[in-house]
């Protein structure tokens, strides 16, 4: 049986001015909110629980369950914070969603806020996406004007403020507690857990943090019902999700499909791997998830199956690399990312990524030293599970999985530069002649 695509969130993206309120309302926008406002909040939470919606930000935690962890109301404020920091390498779904249909997110925010008793929600959007920020600001203003936000939402007496907050460039601010610190005006460094945000989050008040896609999926559940949503996907990974294909694939882009679809199926829809080339390795859910190879083409892309196969579903960010690509080069570059983005709080991540990059760069240059591979293996072992937050673990994924599947390429780094084995111009999407490092002015 082949899986077919199920555009829900993306269904209206090709409409004229799809980001505008009027366009959204033409396709039934805010109908879910109207329905929700007529329900008991507890029933909304139960409905979302029943739907099986799991967090789309990477960890896949059941959304309804997270909401139900909030302590009983004590009269003080409770907050909903939307994680729109989308910075995981490979992940590129939330920003297009915001560009094309910010109202689906706002409707989800209004429903969720009503369900959890929140009157002030925040959208933390990464600072490096100007136009998405504009669209979001604009949509919030439109929604206020239309009485969909603000005081007395749709005449029901429910009040809700929404604040759009732009970050300023830090991957770690996608981690929910670092995000909260950042939203409080601090350095975005992760907080100690417990207490979990549900108990003491923003301003130490009960807080729900959810991903953009998670919350944007809520209006559909309200409209279609829990069963409608659960009918898509697999038994424990239910519903639709955006699969983002990038790299050496003929038609990269967003494919909204039920969870459990396979890369083979997706590749078929996307026109296959770059013409004349074969799949070498890929990430199932961003650079933080261990890489897969062609042997994993038929792994159903749901949380359980991907986990069983040794990786993680993550954010369904499928980065496809063909046989021209040096694994050592890719892994080195990813590690440079983690080194650059490590918040610096804990020793293993801060020092470990610094060290790993030093070793990897040597290997990439073909100047590896005896023992380097052991150092890579042992250092990642000493980071994994020792760091303060999952960023440290994430940094180990490319190295460990790279060594697992392509050890010989790392070994070759003892004597041969990666760009000799895998000339970069063969991987690029256009023809060019690489310059040697020495020719470049002012490169750091």
């Amino acid at each position: 049986m082949t899986t077919t695509l199920t555009p829900v969130l993306s269904a209206s993206w090709d409409a004229d001015h799809s980001w505008s309120l009027s366009s959204y309302q033409r396709t039934g926008g805010y109908r879910g909110l109207r329905k929700a406002l007529s329900m008991a909040p507890a029933d909304i939470i139960a409905m979302v629980k029943d739907s099986g919606l799991r967090g789309r930000g990477g960890a896949g935690f059941p959304a309804g369950m997270k909401w139900s962890f909030l302590p009983a109301p004590d009269g003080g404020p409770r907050y909903l914070v939307i994680n729109a920091d989308e910075s995981e390498p490979g992940t590129c779904k939330d920003i297009p969603l915001i560009m094309a249909n910010p109202h689906s997110l706002l409707e989800g925010i209004a429903i969720t806020s009503f369900a959890i008793g929140c009157h002030h929600a925040f959208i933390y959007i990464r600072g490096e996406v100007l136009h998405a920020t504009r669209r979001l600001q604009h949509a919030v203003a439109e929604a206020y004007d239309a009485g969909l936000l603000g005081t007395n939402v749709l005449g029901t007496g429910f009040d809700l403020d929404v604040t759009v907050h732009a970050g300023a460039g830090a991957y770690i601010c996608g981690e929910e507690t670092a995000l909260l610190d950042s939203l409080e005006g601090l350095r975005g460094q992760p907080r100690l857990k417990p207490p979990f945000p549900a108990v003491a989050g923003l301003y130490a008040r009960p807080t729900v943090v959810n991903n953009v896609e998670t919350i944007a999926s809520v209006p559909g559940i309200l409209r279609g019902g829990a069963a409608w949503f659960a009918a898509m996907g697999t038994e424990r990974s239910q519903g639709h999700g955006l699969f983002s294909l990038s790299g050496h694939v003929e038609r990269p882009g967003q494919y909204e499909a039920p969870l459990g679809i396979t890369l083979r199926e997706l590749l078929e829809m996307a026109g296959g791997v770059r013409q004349g080339h074969q799949l070498k390795f890929w990430t199932p859910g961003g650079s933080s998830t261990p890489i897969f190879t062609a042997e994993h083409l038929d792994v159903p892309l749901d949380y359980e199956s991907v986990g069983k196969a040794g990786s993680m579903l993550g954010t369904r960010a499928l980065q496809i690399f063909d046989e021209t690509v040096s694994v050592v080069r890719a892994v080195t570059r990813w590690l440079e990312f983690y080194k650059h983005e490590s918040c610096g709080k804990c020793t293993p991540c801060r020092e470990g990524t610094y060290w790993l990059v030093a070793v990897l760069k040597r290997l990439e240059a073909g100047e590896g030293r005896p023992g380097d591979l052991e150092v890579l293996a042992d250092s990642t072992d000493n980071i994994l599970g020792r760091a303060f937050c999952p960023l440290g673990d994430a940094a180990c994924s490319p190295v460990q999985s790279g060594l697992q599947y392509f050890r010989e390429e790392f070994e070759a780094g003892m004597h041969t530069p990666a760009d000799v084995l895998f000339p970069p111009e063969k991987s690029s999407l256009f023809a060019y002649t690489p310059r040697s490092r020495a020719q470049l002015a002012g490169v750091h």
């Binding site: 080194k339 983005e341 918040c343 610096g344 804990c346 293993p348 030093a358 150092v375 020792r386």
Partner: protein
């Protein structure tokens, strides 16, 4: 701790020791095991603490028992199992024991029993060392460095790291005193967490990110931020750098590596060469426990000791760094006698004889008076009290070398004397509301500030202050200002009443809560009616009232009886029974019954020739309410000066008797709470205590005191006990009318800053650089009326003199100007001969304005 071992049959000692603190019984406990040893701890106990109690040392860097858990260094990882159903399940990852609370049935395996924990810890040490320079041989911390120790016990023999280390320019000054060596830093954040959580003074913070992350202050050069920092609202220290905290030295002590060092101690010694002695700091009435480290008779550094009842593990920079005065090059060593107008060194016998002769002559000519100063240990103060009454037969004795009043004397007699440990630090920890009157807790009682800040953060208690403006210290206590121009404090205090509007009403409500406290400082004495109003307020609201003087000797001196109206133990001079009591104890027929004169009256009488001799302890003329009057008095009278360092008093003295500084004698300071803080002699010394010197002098006068040894003093103090007779009446003084000011004038507000030109801070330039930069604070309206902006200069003047300072526009009453009392560039009493509440002239400084025009046109 007791002052001395009480003898059987002894009465309560004069200053009884505090009862040991009682730990509250834990309400719930948790039983679990570490390395197979079962242990029961209060619920909420962290695994690392529980292990400590069992004697199991889990390596750690970022953990500090007085700071919130951070879990940043990851050194303390352990293997953990927890019951799930009826089985034990292993945590998938090793856990940081410094952030993990013990739960029932938990099984913890440390590096001693778990290969996994051991490997994890080895891994972390290896990471920490890849970027650590191995410069232990030249590092101040070498020999007492947790990183060095743990690298030895838990590290690899050789490093696998062969790549380029991060290198930074060697130490950078983050203040004149504190140096930061970023290469050595392991980013445990103890320093920044201390500054944030304890001091509330984040002059340093983490800067940059990831592998470039570093500790630092806002330094544009180091952070690579182009452009110049504007001045004005950003506070700066005397060295011109962004203000360094008064508590910054603690960061050096809690740094687990040698990344933070002090300029004063850098490269001075190795820990194994030092001899450590516990002691008590001499700079304030807080009684901080310190450790004095010396090598071959030279004190090289002081550290905070750990005393949970008083200063916990922290001290002020003044207590830590201001010790060179005790070993100053100019230390008085030989006794001196004036002959033909010139002081000559002589033998002690001769000097004592000369002093006795002079005093004897003076007694015949109108009498002699005693000015002990406010910095003495209890034992020495007691000797002065006894010397005055027994040897000089006078009540003319006053230790208050600062502005004072008769109202204050009455207040001390009525409310303070004999009431030791009535309000304590522990009470402040739980107080729902605290009101300051004439007291800046950070400037005038550093530990008080820290304790309050910790307590209030826990209890969400409120702070109120009657002051002209909310200082940074008060702001960091989230304090509410009850705005009062100098001189109007009494009125404001009377306005704190149930139902009053705004902050006054809030203060009344706060103070009505059980456990609320009113703290008055010594400056309350300068405001007529303020102490009376404070007493009324306490009665009205039920709040408890305590007096917090600045100097270390003030509280003990009140108990010792160095006040004109008070004998030891709070016995009123005016009370016949009290005098009889004391005469009997002292073995004399009677005690002088006329009430004594206070310091100002004594100086006036001496200047007028009515008092012929003065016996003066350690005091600075410039600290006195009227330094000129003091000079005239010292010039005219026969002066016997007991001093450690040369001073204006010794210059004018007829006999100079050198005495021992605290480090060279044992003694007891008494905290503002009335808590005795005994300290031992640290250095071998031939210098005599004041008491011993007075004893010899009394012998020479033929009126022996019997205070030859410390044991004799302690015996007497223990025998004497306190007074249980009637207390002196409460003062009931009316508030004075605030003075009228015209548009060329302002009312002066002033107080001492913690770091200033004080004599005991001499010889420590690194510390001096961290003092606050002097400024004249004015309201915006007052500044506007003078056409001055922040950082432009104003001149504050009286007929006696003028000071010119940069302006700091502050939210405060109009036509009030605040300046520091005794900064290097602003000695109020000396230059202006004025004090808080006096009217001064205020004008834009001509020179500053001329400068300005040049800048503008340039």
């Amino acid at each position: 701790m007791t002052v001395t071992t009480p003898r059987s049959g002894a009465a309560t000692p004069l200053v009884p020791a505090a009862p040991p603190a009682t730990e509250p019984e834990p309400t719930a406990t948790v039983t679990f095991s570490i390395d197979g040893i079962e242990t029961t701890v209060p619920k909420g106990t962290l695994v690392i603490r529980a292990a400590e109690q069992l004697g199991i040392q889990i390596p750690r860097f970022c953990d500090h028992p007085l700071l919130a858990p951070a879990g940043a260094c990851r050194q303390c990882l352990v293997e953990v199992w927890a019951p799930r159903g009826d089985q034990l399940a292993k945590f998938p990852k090793p856990q940081a024991s410094c952030t993990l609370e013990a739960t029932p049935g938990m099984v913890v395996k440390t590096q001693r029993t778990s290969p996994e924990a051991d490997k994890a810890q080895h891994g972390i040490i290896e990471f920490l060392l890849i970027n650590h320079p191995l410069d232990c041989p030249v590092c101040d911390k070498g020999g007492e460095c947790p990183l060095q120790n743990q690298a030895m016990s838990n590290g690899r023999a050789t490093s696998r790291f062969v790549d380029a280390k991060r290198t930074y320019a060697k130490p950078i000054n983050i203040s004149t005193q504190i140096l930061l060596d970023r290469e050595r830093c392991i980013l445990c954040q103890r320093c920044t967490r201390f500054q944030d959580e304890i001091a509330g003074d984040q002059f340093i913070d983490l800067q940059k990110r990831g592998w470039q992350q570093q500790i630092g202050r806002f330094d544009t050069g180091i952070l690579g931020i182009r452009g110049e920092l504007p001045v004005g609202e950003s506070s700066m220290d005397a060295s011109g750098q962004p203000f360094a905290s008064y508590f910054s030295g603690n960061t050096v002590q809690i740094c687990p590596v040698g990344a933070l060092t002090s300029a004063a101690y850098r490269f001075r010694s190795r820990p194994f060469d030092l001899v450590s002695t516990p002691s008590i700091a001499e700079h304030d009435s807080q009684g901080s426990a310190i450790r004095i480290d010396h090598r071959r008779g030279v004190v090289l550094r002081r550290l905070s000791d750990n005393d949970p009842a008083v200063n916990a593990e922290f001290v002020t920079d003044k207590d830590r760094f201001a010790f060179p005065w005790q070993a100053g090059k100019d230390r008085l060593t030989a006794p001196q006698v004036r002959e033909d107008g010139v002081l000559h060194a002589t033998s002690l016998t001769e000097a004592i004889d000369a002093a006795a002769a002079g005093l004897a002559a003076a007694l015949a000519k109108g009498g002699a008076a005693v000015l002990p100063g406010g910095r003495l240990p209890l034992e020495d103060a007691y000797a002065y009290a006894k010397f005055a009454r027994v040897a000089l037969r006078t009540n003319d004795v006053d230790h208050r070398a600062r502005p004072h009043s008769a109202e204050e004397a009455a207040f001390l007699a009525h409310h303070v004397a004999g009431r030791t440990l009535d309000v304590t630090f522990a009470d402040l920890d739980v107080a729902p509301a605290v009101l300051f009157v004439g007291l800046e807790p950070e400037e005038e009682g550093g530990i008080l500030f820290l304790r309050l800040r910790q307590g209030l953060r826990r209890t969400k208690g409120q702070v109120f202050t009657v002051a002209p403006f909310a200082s940074r210290g008060v702001a960091r206590l989230d304090g509410t200002l009850l705005s009062a121009a100098p001189g109007t404090e009494a009125e404001v205090l009377d306005g704190i009443a149930e139902g009053a509007d705004g902050p006054l009403g809030a203060a009344a409500a706060g103070l009505a809560k059980p456990g609320a406290v009113v703290l008055v400082g010594e400056r309350a004495a300068t405001v007529p009616g303020a102490l009376s109003a404070a007493l009324r307020l306490a009665t009205r609201t039920g709040a408890r009232l305590a007096w917090v003087p600045r100097r270390a000797g003030e509280r003990g001196a009140v108990e010792a009886g160095t006040l004109p109206g008070l004998l030891p133990g709070g016995r009123p001079v005016a009370d016949t029974a009290a005098r009889v009591d004391m005469a009997a104890a002292w073995g004399v027929e009677s005690l002088p019954s006329e009430p004594g004169r206070d310091l100002t009256a004594i100086l006036q009488a001496a200047a007028d020739g009515q008092i012929a001799a003065l016996v003066v302890g350690g005091l600075e003329v410039a600290d006195l309410p009227d330094p000129e009057l003091a000079r005239r008095a010292l010039d005219r009278a026969f002066v016997v000066s007991l001093e450690v360092l040369p001073s204006e008093v010794t210059q004018r003295a007829d006999v100079v008797l050198p005495v021992a500084p605290p480090v060279e004698k044992p003694g007891t300071f008494v905290t503002w709470e009335g808590r005795p803080r005994p300290f031992p002699q640290v250095l071998v010394s031939t210098a005599l205590t004041d008491a011993r010197m007075l004893d010899a002098l009394a012998d020479a006068l033929g009126t022996p005191l019997g205070l030859r040894s410390l044991a004799q003093v302690h015996d007497e103090l223990d025998q004497l006990g306190g007074w249980d007779g009637a207390r002196a009446e409460a003062p009931d003084e009316a508030a004075a009318e605030p003075p009228a000011v015209d548009e060329t004038q302002a009312v002066l507000a002033t107080w001492h800053l913690l770091l200033d030109a004080g004599r005991l801070q001499g010889g420590e330039p690194f510390l001096a650089g961290t003092a606050k930069r002097s400024a004249a604070r004015l309201s915006a309206a007052t500044a506007a009326a003078l056409c001055v902006a922040d950082d432009e200069h104003v001149t504050v003047s009286t007929d006696a003199g003028a000071v010119t300072l940069p302006v700091l526009v502050t939210d405060m009453p109009d036509r009030v100007v605040w300046v520091p009392t005794n900064a290097a560039d602003c000695a109020v009493r000396e230059t202006l001969r004025a004090d808080a509440g006096d009217v001064v002239r205020l004008a834009r400084a001509d020179e500053a304005s001329a400068l300005d025009e040049k800048e503008v046109t340039a």
